[in-house]
């Protein structure tokens, strides 16, 4: 069951919101509705967020992303459509149920921190527990733990006003984590921070997410942040979701010109990973094969060396033409193989492939966690990955991830 499911969400502000939705459904443009006096903020947004996923909604200001996130915890009531949180329909819930769902399921981190200035840091962090009715001593202890988890020790009894922006947002994050809900909503949570601190917080968020396995819905206007954090990204424009996909899918296969233009400035080498540019090796050898067969294969393929794999494609080593041509009498390749010292994994960013690639003469081997050979990256391929999107070979691998949704 997905943690969050949104079905055809609409939010129209103004005097006659429902009419606005009807007009939009009938195919009228956003501009036409605006001229009629209503403001459509979110138009027909559908998506689902899986448990344990970081789902980023990315859009410029006025694209409706803040309105969208506020419908997920019921701060705004959708004009049409439904929101389900762990299968429970939020849109139909009574106010009482809504408060219960918020207490048990969803916490939120705000752009400008929204800490209560009249409460101490620890009491701020304990706020969610307070609404849950946890006794004072316990909620303070748990809030203290959450603060430590967020790297903020020794500030418990200070007021938020005495802290720097980055520290304040750590309190905001601790407040959300202390509540111990399954879902974290983060509304431009790092946008008000300095770039260096922002990066720091992003790293920490990823680390915390690995540790705690929260489901995170993250809103941002910063594409680099979206690409860094998001397992999947929804691109929003003028109230509509125009594309949902992984960072790589959006980079390599933008749904329209708007998205393409948007991602044009992204440092591709940091987003694209080895898996999206690796190729099938032209040939591999089995360890039981003899030197003569190996020699012939190298000649045929005009390769100076080949990788040797086991039956389950485990990477065992490699042999060069010299190795085999001087030992043609050997029964198999076991004694002739050289150790492979340089490997990369499928998730290594392209930017980090250049140094390893320069260290070896053979194409760079890409392996998985069981040391199986997934593919190789020849130097030519690596260079062409720096080029324009059209020239990036995407057909080689990772077919499972190719399900970029176009809306």
């Amino acid at each position: 069951m997905p943690a969050i499911e949104a079905h055809h969400l609409y939010k129209v502000f103004g005097k006659k919101p429902r009419e606005g939705v009807a007009l939009l459904e009938a195919g009228q443009s956003r501009e036409a509705i605006t001229r009629a006096g209503s403001t459509p903020a979110v138009i027909d947004a559908s998506f689902s967020v899986e448990e344990g996923e970081i789902f980023v909604v990315m859009g410029l200001s006025g694209s409706g992303k803040s309105t969208l996130i506020r419908m997920i915890n019921g701060l705004y009531e959708p004009t049409a459509g439904t929101v389900e949180v762990y299968g429970e329909n939020l849109t139909a819930a009574s106010k009482r149920d809504l408060r219960r769902i918020r207490r048990e399921r969803i916490s939120m981190v705000f752009q400008h921190f929204a800490l209560f200035p009249h409460r101490t840091v620890v009491d701020n962090a304990a706020y969610g527990l307070e609404t849950q009715g946890v006794a004072k001593a316990e909620r303070r202890a748990r809030a203290h733990e959450a603060l430590e988890l967020c790297g903020l020790t020794g500030w418990d009894d200070h007021k938020p006003g005495e802290l720097s922006g980055g520290m304040q947002q750590r309190v905001g994050l601790a407040r959300a984590l202390a509540a111990d809900t399954d879902i974290l909503l983060m509304d431009e949570a790092f946008s008000a921070l300095d770039p260096l601190i922002r990066r720091d917080m992003q790293d920490q968020l990823i680390e915390l997410q690995h540790k705690l396995g929260k489901t995170i819905l993250f809103i941002t206007h910063d594409l680099n942040e979206a690409m860094r954090l998001g397992d999947r990204i929804a691109m929003m424009r003028d109230g509509r979701i125009v594309q949902i996909g992984t960072a790589e899918e959006i980079l390599t296969d933008p749904a329209n010109d708007y998205v393409a233009q948007f991602v044009a400035d992204v440092d591709r080498t940091r987003v694209l990973t080895a898996s999206s540019i690796m190729e099938k090796p032209v040939a591999v050898l089995g360890s039981e094969q003899g030197p003569r067969a190996a020699h012939r294969l190298m000649r045929e393929q005009q390769q100076a060396g080949l990788y040797v794999v086991g039956r389950d494609r485990t990477l065992l080593g490699y042999v060069t033409e010299d190795d085999v041509s001087t030992n043609l009498t050997h029964p198999d390749l076991t004694g002739l193989m050289q150790q492979v010292t340089t490997t990369v994994t499928a998730s290594t960013p392209v930017a980090e492939l250049f140094t390893p690639s320069a260290e070896i003469t053979l194409p760079l081997p890409v392996i998985d966690d069981k040391h199986r050979l997934l593919g190789v990256i020849p130097k030519v391929t690596l260079l062409s990955a720096l080029g324009t999107p059209a020239e990036v070979p995407t057909d080689a691998a990772a077919p499972a991830q190719k399900e970029s949704t176009r809306v």
């Binding site: 918020r102 400008h112 706020y127 969610g128």
Partner: protein, 318 residues
């Protein structure tokens, strides 16, 4: 007076508002007399008791107590100035009148504040409430005081009660307006933060909105007190005892000297009350504890609600 040139079309019939008001006042004074008497007697006796309290000790003791309050609220400078001002009032032979005025103002201001804050909360929470309340406040603030002073005289008779009621009518509006403004000005994100963690509306109100609106609400309270003081002289006309009466009698006997002494005493009391309440609002001076006195009841109320909720959960768990 009916010059045809002014009324060429005779658009509006003569509406006899004055007659209606006369009838209404007559009707109220005859049929609601016990009600107004009750309120009048109550107010008179409260003011009297407070005056007696302020007059009960030697003047120097009262001066020290009032200066100590200034010290707590604001600091040593204000305390010294307060002591000097109060001693000057005594040297003008206006001490008794000043204490009567102080008692009257404190009673009127406390009642006005107790009414203003809840009304302000309603206005902040409800759009319709705000729409209804605003013109009423305009009316209260701009209607010339003499217009409601006379009916007050009819209802409550000559004395402190009529002065207190007139003062409340005049001084209440800024308390309501600034409470509404303060609550509306609280950052939306703060309110959302409360709501997003599942807090009930009353917990958001008492735990987030009112504490954050407190500086503005305190500015409103300060304004209520200052306006109450400016009604003192007018209150003197309906027999409210104190400096106002001295000023009024000085005016009628053309005794400019007595008028000046009473008038300057009003100013001293005004400055004292302004500095003390402003100090409490800002939480400045030697003690924020003074502010905690004001915030205390609200904070405790919110706390009690939480504890009640806690008990409920524990009970459920058991």
């Amino acid at each position: 007076m009916s010059e045809p040139i002014l009324h060429p079309l005779n658009l509006m019939p003569r509406i006899h508002l004055g007659d209606w008001v006369n009838t209404a006042v007559d009707w109220l004074t005859t049929h609601w007399a016990p009600f107004f008497d009750g309120i009048g007697n109550g107010l008179n006796s409260i003011v009297e008791h407070l005056t007696n309290l302020l007059m009960s000790g030697p003047i120097i003791v009262i001066v020290i107590v009032l200066a100590a309050i200034a010290l707590l609220a604001r600091g040593i400078g204000t305390a010294v100035a307060a002591a000097v001002g109060l001693l000057l009032i005594d040297s003008f032979d206006e001490w008794a009148a000043a204490m009567q005025t102080l008692a009257l103002i404190v009673v009127a201001a406390v009642i006005a504040i107790v009414l203003a804050i809840p009304i302000g909360i309603v206005a902040a929470k409800s759009h319709i409430g705000s729409l209804v309340i605003r013109p009423v406040l305009d009316f209260m603030q701009t209607l010339p005081a003499y217009v409601y002073l006379l009916p007050a005289l009819f209802f409550f008779g000559l004395g402190a009660a009529a002065g207190v009621v007139a003062t409340i009518i005049f001084a209440l509006p800024p308390g309501v307006r600034l409470t509404e403004l303060g609550i509306r000005q609280v950052d939306v994100e703060m309110v959302e933060a409360g709501q997003s963690f599942g807090a009930t509306p009353s917990k958001v109100l008492f735990g987030v909105q009112i504490p954050l609106a407190m500086p503005t609400i305190m500015a409103g309270i300060n304004q209520v007190i200052m306006l109450a003081l400016s009604m003192v002289v007018i209150g003197g006309m309906v027999g409210a005892p104190g400096l106002g009466q001295d000023v009024t009698s000085a005016l009628t006997t053309l005794d400019i000297g007595q008028g000046a002494e009473a008038g300057v005493s009003v100013v001293f009391i005004a400055i004292y009350l302004d500095r003390v309440t402003a100090g409490i609002g800002k939480g400045s001076g030697s003690l924020r504890k003074a502010a905690a006195v004001f915030r205390g009841p609200l904070g405790r109320l919110a706390e009690r609600r939480t504890e009640a909720a806690e008990d409920e959960t524990t009970a459920k768990a058991a």
